[in-house]
């Protein structure tokens, strides 16, 4: 395959991934690595490096929009980033040592799990809780805008959330994904932070987490400009346009289609990993 053709096809695929990722809220990062490895037979470590770069681009690019809404909690984000960034470096160091097949199997399992998560619908509980002593010491509680004025929320389960965040960081560094789903679970389920606050805070953490492992991938020679260029530009353009279309689109059917694609990719990754083809 020539550089021309490779660049054009990868750009198109990444554009589609970013577009659908933004529309469905599932993130484009999860399909970039399977696309590069299964379709274009790119070495999985090169694919992870390129994917990390695109994750940073979408997270940093969307930060301004999220912040303006006033939901994200920078203290919670920064405190938990001490866990995700260290986790990301651990994950990246593991990825540089294990075989590509092992990474592929773990990747497949994570894909299946995230498809499963996207199928479940969680309602906002709406009840406010008392902050734990540790959360108070860290000044994690805050207020967020609701239709009837700003509402105060407490935070609890700090240690459990912190542990989950470390895990999210490891997955991000190991697989080159944003692992936004795990971050939201840590905040929403373990720490009882309101759902809107959890998702927007997660978005701004994703870029910082990905940067922690991207630096390592770059300095070890795993970021190939010829691959990262079409991936980054494609995902960025796709997600920017996807976010614009989002307001008008009927996304429910699309979510199911995208989740189905993720399931297929998940099984493909596991199969190829187990048979040693990746």
């Amino acid at each position: 395959m020539t550089v021309h053709l490779f660049t054009a096809l990868v750009f198109f695929g990444s554009f589609l991934a970013g577009f659908l990722g933004a529309l469905t809220g599932l993130g484009g990062g999860v399909v970039v690595v399977p696309m590069l490895t299964l379709l274009f037979h790119v070495d999985i470590r090169y694919a992870i490096g390129a994917s990390l770069v695109s994750v940073i681009a979408t997270s940093s690019g969307a930060a301004a929009a999220y912040v303006r809404e006033g939901y994200s909690n920078i203290r919670i984000g920064m405190f938990l980033e001490t866990a995700t960034t260290i986790g990301a470096i651990v994950g990246a160091l593991v990825a540089l040592r294990v075989t590509g097949s092992a990474i592929a199997v773990v990747f497949g399992l994570v894909l299946l799990y995230s498809a499963f998560l996207s199928g479940r619908h969680r309602e906002a509980s709406g009840q406010t809780i008392q902050s734990s002593a540790l959360a108070n010491r860290l000044r994690l509680s805050a207020s967020y805008p609701t239709p009837h004025g700003p509402e105060h929320y407490g935070v609890t389960g700090v240690s459990a959330g912190y542990g989950l965040m470390f895990g999210a960081g490891v997955l991000s560094g190991l697989l080159g994904i944003g692992s936004g789903a795990v971050k939201v679970i840590a905040m929403d389920q373990a720490m009882k932070i309101p759902f809107k606050v959890s998702t927007t805070t997660s978005n701004f953490m994703i870029g910082v987490t990905a940067a922690a492992s991207a630096g390592l991938y770059l300095s070890r020679g795993y970021i190939a400009p010829g691959i990262a260029m079409p991936v980054m530009l494609g995902v960025l353009a796709g997600s920017l346009i996807g976010a614009k279309v989002l307001v008008r689109a009927q996304v429910k059917v699309l979510r199911y289609v995208f989740a189905a694609v993720i399931v297929v990719l998940g099984f493909e990754m596991i199969f190829n990993g187990l048979t040693g083809r990746l």
Binding site: F6, G61, M78, T82, A212, S219, P225
Partner: protein, 127 residues
């Protein structure tokens, strides 16, 4: 909330805008490098199926700067990617300054921990 008038929200909006400009600048540099790369190497054949590591000139910050300065297309792309990786690092740095302006020293320390981890990843592990 505090006397200095620096609210979290206001600082965050400024940081968010700076971040988006950083991403756009990085994307522009990657795009320029990409066009040069396609013009000069478009007809070559790709071989990404086995990992052989990028050359030294594309792995370290001084190497990338030197080769990009010499007009090498792949190094210009890599420079754009470095700018992109720098945007979250800049955000953390700005947050540290913001917390210092609010006299929130606990969070200055927490933020500096994150900053050190990020800088270690990019600089400390080279070589």
């Amino acid at each position: 909330m505090n006397q200095t008038g620096w609210t979290d929200q206001r600082i965050e909006v400024i940081i968010g805008t700076l971040l988006r400009m950083g991403v756009m600048l990085a994307a522009a540099v990657v795009f320029i490098g990409g066009v040069l790369y396609l013009v000069r190497h478009g007809q070559e054949t790709i071989h990404y199926s086995t990992f052989h590591g990028e050359p030294e000139a594309l792995k370290s910050i001084p190497g990338v700067l030197k080769s990009a300065g010499a007009g090498q297309a792949r190094a210009i792309i890599q420079l754009g990617l470095l700018l992109l990786i720098a945007t979250p690092i800049a955000r953390v740095l700005f947050s540290a300054i913001a917390f210092a302006l609010e006299h929130d020293y606990l969070y200055v320390v927490i933020t500096l921990v994150v900053l050190v981890v990020l800088l270690y990843s990019l600089l400390g592990s080279t070589g």
